[in-house]
């Protein structure tokens, strides 16, 4: 299991590929992955950059817990959750959630569920830099 909060930009596909390469070969039949990426547009406005704040300690604990719960509940082989913090630019990946399992149902269910849990509980906050000034994002898009 890998859970990490990352203050620097990363390539999500390289991270997933590297992590998967260390899993027992031939054990997993299904990998379901979600990557959330920063768009340059939100609620009708151009967004130039974004500041991703979190509650150090609490957030890590929440991500560990949701990953661990998903691993057990869905009988997964492995799980990865990676979330960016700090200043983020359009096209930067923000979050990666990945689930590996023997068959596809568990991986699909777990990946989506972890993502919805992360969005509803994990203590991250987004502040957008627009041309006209800054604004805090007040709520997430429905899942």
């Amino acid at each position: 299991m890998k859970v990490e909060i990352r203050p620097e930009a990363y390539d999500p596909w390289v991270e997933i590929g590297a992590y998967q390469a260390a899993l027992p070969a031939g054990s997993y039949g299904a990998s379901a992955v979600f990557v959330g990426t920063m768009r340059d547009f939100n609620e009708g406005d151009d967004v130039e950059s974004m500041l991703l704040e979190h509650y150090p300690g609490m957030t890590e604990q929440q991500l560990e817990e949701l990953a661990q719960n998903s691993l057990k509940y869905h009988g997964l082989i492995d799980v990865m959750v990676l979330h960016r913090v700090g200043e983020v630019r359009p096209n930067d990946p923000i979050v990666v959630v990945a689930a590996w399992s023997a068959h596809r149902k568990a991986a699909f269910d777990a990946c989506r569920e972890m993502m919805e849990n992360l969005k509803s509980v994990a203590t991250f906050w987004k502040k957008e830099q627009l041309k006209e000034g800054v604004r805090w994002v007040e709520k997430n898009t429905a899942g």
Binding site: K119, A122, T123, F124, W125, K126
Partner: protein, 76 residues
């Protein structure tokens, strides 16, 4: 008893500071702590935690607790 109170995101900006150290009587609730620091009742869209776990407004604090107040989360 002594507790620390943290503020995050837009709430930190509204408060004009990121934390307080408070001396309060034992058994004080999260709602009372919020009233103490803000002079307001807990409104909608305000969340709180106690020792890095989500808390309810009638949960009580003990000496050494780390309390936090913050707006709805928007990660992912």
């Amino acid at each position: 008893m002594r507790i620390s109170v943290m503020y995050f995101a837009s709430l930190r900006e509204q408060m004009g500071r990121d934390s307080d150290q408070l001396d309060l009587e034992e058994g004080v609730t999260m709602a009372e702590i919020w009233q103490k620091v803000s002079d307001q009742c807990p409104q909608e869209n305000l969340l709180c935690s106690r020792n890095k776990e989500y808390a309810q407004w009638d949960d009580t604090a003990v000496d050494g607790d780390e309390i936090a107040f913050f707006p709805p989360v928007t990660g992912g």
